[in-house]
Symmetry: D3
Subunit: 245 residues, 6 copies
């Protein structure tokens, strides 16, 4: 049995439940999903400042569950705390943008990024550069920057999203399309029948890739204890030198 921790980096429990459901739906056989919520921080993560401040609570949650998972998903587009977590933990950690980009790149030569609102574009631009996959990106198709996400994605919203997906394919030459933004989680399987290229859902991609990475050999990295002040006991434990993993 492979155990995955899927960590909602914001503080909204309802989002955690939605992510957990999506993760469980995507999990391969033999993989158990545990979901957790950031213990403090932001109810919604939107800006670069949010990503930074979401980092310590994400690390704290990852630390609190140490030993209870074989790989972790930081279930936030923008991948807050990702590089720190990769360094501090002895198991693979993967982010939502990272997973979506890599899965899309393996399923199509050039991938488009589609979102209901343009508010997340700076984050995706940053992530494309950070993960070094800008050359595989065909471009963005996004709604207006101030679009409010609807509570429910009804027929009209789905039609609007499909129109963006089709533009991405026809105008930008996308051969796979990422549905970007937390509220779009779970829509990919629904819309896929109407779309002739793979639709990528970040949570599904991350769960499947995290399970894949969990099975690869990994180095034992003994870590010396290093001084750190001002953080709670979970994060402090990550700086106390190698513990169980």
């Amino acid at each position: 049995m492979t155990r995955l921790l899927v960590l909602n980096g914001n503080t909204t429990e309802a989002v955690t439940e939605r992510i957990a459901a999506a993760a469980r739906a995507a999990a391969p056989a033999g993989v158990a999903i545990e979901a957790a919520t950031a213990p403090y921080g932001l109810p919604l993560i939107v800006t670069r400042a949010d990503w930074l401040l979401a980092g310590p609570p994400i690390l704290a949650a990852l630390a609190a569950h140490r030993g209870a998972y074989d790989a972790a998903v930081i279930a936030v587009f923008g991948d807050p705390a990702l590089e720190a977590a990769k360094l501090l933990l002895d198991v693979p950690v993967i982010g939502l943008s990272e997973a979506a980009f890599h899965a899309a790149a393996m399923l199509g030569r050039r991938f488009g990024i589609v979102s209901f609102s343009a508010a997340l574009r700076p984050m995706f631009e940053d992530c494309l550069d950070h993960h070094g996959l800008r050359g595989r990106c065909a471009g963005f198709r996004m709604g207006p920057p101030d679009a409010a996400y609807p509570a429910v994605f009804g027929a009209a919203e789905q039609a609007a999203l499909l129109a963006l997906v089709r533009d991405s394919i026809a105008q930008d030459g996308a051969e796979a399309v990422i549905l970007a933004g937390g509220p779009l989680a779970g829509l990919a399987p629904l819309l896929q029948p109407a779309v002739p290229v793979p639709l990528i859902d970040g949570t599904a991609a991350a769960v499947r890739l995290a399970a894949a990475l969990a099975g690869l050999p990994r180095p034992a990295r003994p870590r010396a204890a290093r001084p750190l002040s001002g953080y709670g006991p979970e994060i402090a434990a990550l700086y106390a030198g190698s513990g169980p993993s």
Copy 2:
């Protein structure tokens, strides 16, 4: 049960057996491995011309087994026939270089490529550009271009390889290292205890990632029949329009 076809693109059965063993060792629970050998072509794939000529027999083998696998691995560094196969088949297909690069990129910020002989370097250069991941590559550490691969990797050969791995880490700043070249398959778990960063084996990476991709939604792509002459019935079938998958 997820069924993976692991296809040896050269015609040497002994290599197929070695790859099959490595694939089975790396397969997640619930994943069955079937191995196949290219029906014609080259006993050893080394040059760019080899990659082209290995392509049709690889497509033929993929076509011959159609319907019997949920994802396929083209188990050749250099990824011959990869883009054609992604287009013609209704299931995910992944190459060894592609898998090694993506796995390495998810496990370390910059990855090194280590090989016993420099003969494969042009292929890896081409693949880095093709997959758009050159920016994540820290560089190459390779033996002399005319190094013959030893029949067995004994202590001396392992020590030589470890020295290259350590140069990749210390001189090039690699944070993950790909062991490149078919004959190195299976060495990663053996050498990992002596290495402080993840060692990537192409076959293991490809098997795990193929299983991951097999579970994602995919488009139904009806294909019109198109005329093709001069190829055998398997490849011809791929051009006969959508069949079972």
Copy 3:
């Protein structure tokens, strides 16, 4: 006398004739053009899979004429078999996309790519990356993906094409424009008077550049015989070790 082989990579003789005429019109003094047709494969090359399957018949035709030409043009946008041919033959071989890109880059700082139909865009995207000249490309202006090429380019079609060329110049800043796609061969000299930047025709560019490269010194590359199965005698001959060139 420099002898050029201009090879139509598809099996349609009428296309070979059209290409041969365009090649002869563009050939410098002292250069003789011989045209040949791929002995099998596809009547029309459109997809990545087509490029792969067009490769062996192209190699076969190049091999069949070995010794009778000083340089060869693979007269297919997308450059199938190009890298294999460069490796296996002792004379320069150039592809249509390759030639168009290099000629355009020497005649304008940034070149646009214009086509009647968007169907060839993935091919051009791939070729830009493969030849490393994406940074010189100002962008694409193409008709709808499902546009059927007209049998004859009358005044209306020419006007539509000119409109795309002008958008490429005015909107994208193109300083040279490639007319992309086999059916556009021969139009560049016709449209040039109406366009203030160089219009690049792939066949003409390839013929002129192939003749240029034919005159440069080249290495003698003795090749050891290597085993290959499943291909006809022409390709087999390329693997039989160095022959006459």
Copy 4:
């Protein structure tokens, strides 16, 4: 009078004093330097995890002094909290790596990066990508990864550093050289007479560039209050909506 806040992102007061002295030595006329120390976190910032955890205390310190400076320098190589600070504050904020790269790029076509120890290389690799200036970097010349920084840079250490600088110029073609790493602060003016290209000190570059940016027009960016939990009153104030600046 322009007021600069120079913020030491680690918790070591002695480092703050050294940075403050270097900053004052480099400050233009009419610029007053105030130095501050991160209120908690790490005594020494080395790893990617450190950068993340140094972020909130840096934001807290920047927030605590809000209204008392016209521009800020985050005086840590690696630029922790930089993008969040740029977003949350109404005055320009610049990081040490960012400043060193931009100053070096304006003073030489290609810049080398020289350091006593290779431990900081991953950070510099990340920063080159983040700031988009990798194409201007000629390469790294660094001591061994485990080199301990000497308490004092005596003649022997200076000679060792000069040898690295000369390699950067002669072997890599550097036309400007960044002395990288906090402990090298203040050495540039000392070594410059022996070096034929500009030597860049991060603190000096950042102080001069921050003063430059402080004088440019900037937008008024009213910020809506947004919920945030688990952080102290300084950071909370940054999320309370626009305050004085």
Copy 5:
């Protein structure tokens, strides 16, 4: 007192006066501005040929004033003579495009370029590549290529410009916007109140950055005398070996 030479590279005195005023308005305390005009050449610099021919008179003017300034600004978008001047003079020299790009990059993750007319686009494309900052550019928003610059920027022209700025932000994701083209000098502070991201004026950026660089240590570069014919005494003096600076 820091002395800056701001050099108008065209021969139009009225432009020199306008630039001098803008430079003085942007100069930090303790910085004196001297303005000069190219002694010959072009009244208006637009094309790549113009940049080349503007080069020698710019060098002549820089040489004529040698010893009287601590840093120089070549106040022409396109940066004519920039690399030669950096090499031949012992003080920092900065160009308008160079300064605008670096300032914009320090003030926003991705910057847009806005201009009244598209005529300058090729120049900006060239400069982005030359300075290696294309990756930071979000795109161009420009008026028609044949737009004549109005003598005065009245309300209508300002509104048109603001519309382009807003497109750059909303459509391209620009987080800072460069107002490009000499005639736009001085507009940034006027329009800034209506724009939520930093507006960059080339002259202001160059003056502030030149003052910043003037205070950094610089190498003594003795230069051997080298033969040069056909140029006037000022340029000849630059080739006569090291003189006063």
Copy 6:
């Protein structure tokens, strides 16, 4: 008959004669070579400042011969005046670095650059970026920066050069090698028999490519007269509006 003007951009007549001989040796049948020397400027072009100052005399010489050639070669590594000449003249103009890069790229996937002295490296770095072909370059192998070019390339010098060529192939993976630097002109055919990849001579490449481009259609670009002062009658004529070509 196609007429090529091969222009030596420095003022040394002996170099012109050597270049003319090399150009004639490489010229295709039906191509006549006329050689010319820059009327003033530098006897040897080495630095970036030299390239700028070599520009106007090169333009003057190109203008003086207008109407007497169908394409021109600026026979200087570093390509001074190249972009201006392309713009001002109605016939193709090609530079030595430009030609060497494009020819090498068409003859090998990745090309090395070999030179007797490292003094030209900054120039080649700049040219790689300018022509957008850095991704095709495998690296530099050069003698010491202060190496004096020998008057004659005897056996010892040729052996030293061959050693650099072999390092480029074996260490850097070069599949074609450019012999860089004027004094190496003419050596490629001599050394080619000892080298297993194509050796590229700049002059030969430029002559063949210029002849190739001369045969392609080109736009009629009427040019309005524009004011220019301070230059001689030849350059002034280029600004007097369209003349005969």
